[in-house]
Amino acid sequence: MRKEVPLIITFLAGAFFIADYFIPHTGFSDLAAKINGWAIIVLAASYILGVLNILRINYGRVAKREKDWILKLILVLCMFFMLGAGIFGGITEGTLFDWFFVNTFTPMQATMFALLAFYIASAAFRAFRVRTVQAALLAITAVLVMIGRVPIGETIWKSFPDFTEWIMNVPQLAGKRAILIGAALGAIATGLKVITGLERTYMGQD
């Protein structure tokens, strides 16, 4: 029973949503929208699991005074503080929750995102080291595209921007679409294996 029930539910849900794509019947679409709503409720409820996971992992470490236990204690206290601020004070503009969100979380998030610029520079440096024929092709193409997209490119050769566009719209796009088609077929095959119960590793049951 532990195996069969989830498998049947997966099959019925999977088949239902495939059918929903092909059935324009309003009643059927409404039913699909309703079931999607249930899925959102289940997903929202799963946040309780997340909170419990954080508590379980950090409580033991704080209790045993493991390395960095003070940081874990701060994490748990902050979590409860924000939870309390949100539940009792609301989350709209001007509330305590909003003040902390805007003045602590937002700048930290922006900092992480800003780091991306430096990481792109270091990744580009690594990518453009010419060690093989393929790496050389990549580097030459990248340099050509970059030159074609700045004003100096047009000054060097009038058709440079058009040439750059051709690289982007023909060979680049062809490669990209090939990957996309392969990935889409892989996704269909995986979906089919899951729906038919051939693949059940994700359920934790052989």
Binding site: F22, H25, G27, F28, A123, L185, G186, K193
Partner: protein, 296 residues
């Protein structure tokens, strides 16, 4: 299938169908006022999609049936998947952990489902070597699925005692908070191998570059096309698009799963054929063939 299972299938199907038909009948009897009610049971504009899907499904199921009969199927070598074993071996030699990052999306993303399938296989390998497996997770709904996949992996390897539930960690559902925390794990715990398999977005390079700076062997894989270049430059091996979905069959070598790969390959061959025919016909001015593939 025994009688009990058949009864169960019939019972649940009957409940489901009754529920659906009752709701539909009720709505049809009293359609909401002011809105146009569509009574059609098939969208003919999507007939081409239906036929294509039917062909792909049939090809996959046919190859699975062939594989079940014992026909041997050749699967090309995928370096990135072979490297997982190598990465785990390296971690064992160094006495360090393996970090498995299953992407940032929820279970409704097929890439996360594929990642959970790979996680089960990876856990089975890691259990044999007796090293820690750390799985930081962004979406809370993925936590129980990952726990089950890892637990089953350890169980299959005969090492249920080595399974550490606390290593499956929910971090935060905020993208960059998650990236910061995972970077922290990489820098503090210094895993010998980082496996980044799943659906990634802007955090991909933050994670991959930090991992590269720690000297860990990195295997990445995603079907998100814009993140692939970042993984290619920052990781040792990259599973590109479909290779991520092929991983479970490749790692488990189960005939029925290998059969599904062959089915996808046949579908790919048909698509290539259609592209060639379409290109030739469009070039000589024949338009009807390409119009067959227009999706509305």
């Amino acid at each position: 299938m025994n009688n009990r299972k058949i009864s169960l299938v019939i019972l649940i199907s009957a409940i489901w169908l009754t529920l659906c038909s009752q709701i539909l009948l009720a709505q049809e009897a009293a359609p909401p006022t002011g809105t146009k009610f569509d009574y059609h049971w098939f969208d003919t504009n999507r007939l081409n999609v239906f036929i294509t899907l039917a062909i792909v499904f049939s090809a996959i199921l046919w190859f699975i049936a062939r594989a079940k009969k014992g026909k041997s199927l050749f699967i090309r070598r995928i370096a990135g998947l072979d490297a997982i074993e190598e990465a785990v071996g390296r971690a064992t030699e160094m006495g360090k952990s393996v970090l498995y990052i299953p992407g940032i999306h929820d279970m409704n993303d097929i890439q996360t489902v594929a990642s959970m399938i790979i996680l089960g296989n990876v856990a089975k390998t890691i259990a044999r070597y007796d090293i820690p497996l750390i799985v930081p997770i962004r979406q809370p709904f993925v936590v129980p699925v990952a726990e089950e996949a890892v637990r089953q992996g350890y169980l299959s390897a005969g090492r249920p005692d080595a399974f550490m539930k606390d290593n499956i960690r929910f971090i935060s559902d905020e993208q960059f908070a998650y990236a910061a925390a995972v970077n922290g794990i990489m820098l503090r715990e210094r895993p010998a191998a980082n496996l980044l398999l799943g659906s990634f977005y802007a955090e991909s390079l933050l994670l991959a570059e930090t991992g590269a700076s720690t000297g860990a062997i990195q295997v990445a894989g995603t079907a998100n096309i814009h993140q692939l270049p970042f993984f290619v430059v920052a990781c040792d091996y990259t599973l590109i698009g479909e290779e991520l979905f092929a991983a479970s069959a490749y790692l488990s070598r189960e005939p029925k799963l290998l059969g599904s790969l062959k089915g996808s390959d046949l579908a790919k061959a048909l698509i290539v054929l259609a592209i060639i025919i379409g290109t030739i016909l469009e070039t000589i001015g024949v338009k009807w063939f390409t119009k067959l593939f227009v999706v509305q």
